[in-house]
Amino acid sequence: MAVLPLRLWPDPVLSVVCAPVGAADVRALASDMLDTMYHQYGRGLAAPQVGVVQTLFVMDAAWKSGDPAPMVCVDPVIVWACDTRAVGPEGCLSIPGVTAQVSRAVAVRLAWTDLDGTAWEAAFDGFAAVCIQHEMDHLRGVVTLDHLDAAARALAEVEYQG
């Protein structure tokens, strides 16, 4: 078990499109990512946030209000997104101190592979749906700031640097 150092925006590793994990063994990485996520008091963490450019994220949407239920999503794909969207505040472990208002689909269907190579598909709504879209953004080099208009982004960047 190990808590990994977080990559902070504007680290270039947060702006690249990640490569698929495929058959590579990412057990140790996933375990360290979960340790890091819980340690940082986060509910989701994507591989590039610890400097690994592979399509993998970990999530536990409910642990702050219930028992831990860690999820490891390898090579995830959003196969469906609801047309209804909602705007809500989002933080990011890689952009500490900044909360951005981001519009997200209120429900998504995710397909992914677990650490045993088993394929899964499930629908998510509420916070989990938002978290999944946030983590999926990381896997294609997008952060919350990229969703803001120029004025809101400038303000957020000042807040971040301040």
């Binding site: 270039p12 590793v13 702006s15 690249v16 499109v17 990640c18 490569a19 698929p20 495929g22 058959a23 590579a24 400097g51 450019v53 592979q54 399509t55 090579d75 794909v77 294609r140 080099g141 997008v142």
Partner: protein
Amino acid sequence: MIRSILIHPDPRLKKSCDPVAEITDDLRVLARDMLDTMYDAPGIGLAAPQVGVMRRLIVMDCIKEGTPRPMVLLNPAVVWASEDLGVYEEGCLSIPDQYAEVRRPAEVRVTWMDLDGAMQEEQFAGIWATCAQHEIDHLDGKLFIDYLGPLKRQMITRKMEKLKREMARG
């Protein structure tokens, strides 16, 4: 600049490649060289390990006549594949003059990063779908002959060993 293409069997053609973590000038030069090398060969696709660079980068252009469409794909991923399969007689610049029919999904949706760092997504069909899958296989150390039966594969590998001995003798 045209680079030399590795000929099978070579351990570098059997290895999984590392993702591209940053778009550097070296990477831009590599992409241009790979396109030069591919057009010169001539071929319709080339993967970085074929020129000895163990990075997840491929180039392709399957236009036979008309305006060329040179494509550079960094960290490419197949995110969807059709159930329908298609058969093409495939060849490989690392396995010169050897061709065999390979069955693969007829259509695939591929995501990748372009040289500007932007995410791209496109659905490929026909020869483009086959080429994309063939090149992405290279990034995981897989060759088209791995889809053939062991006898046919060994026959081709022996021919390549012979070819390399002849090339070494010059």
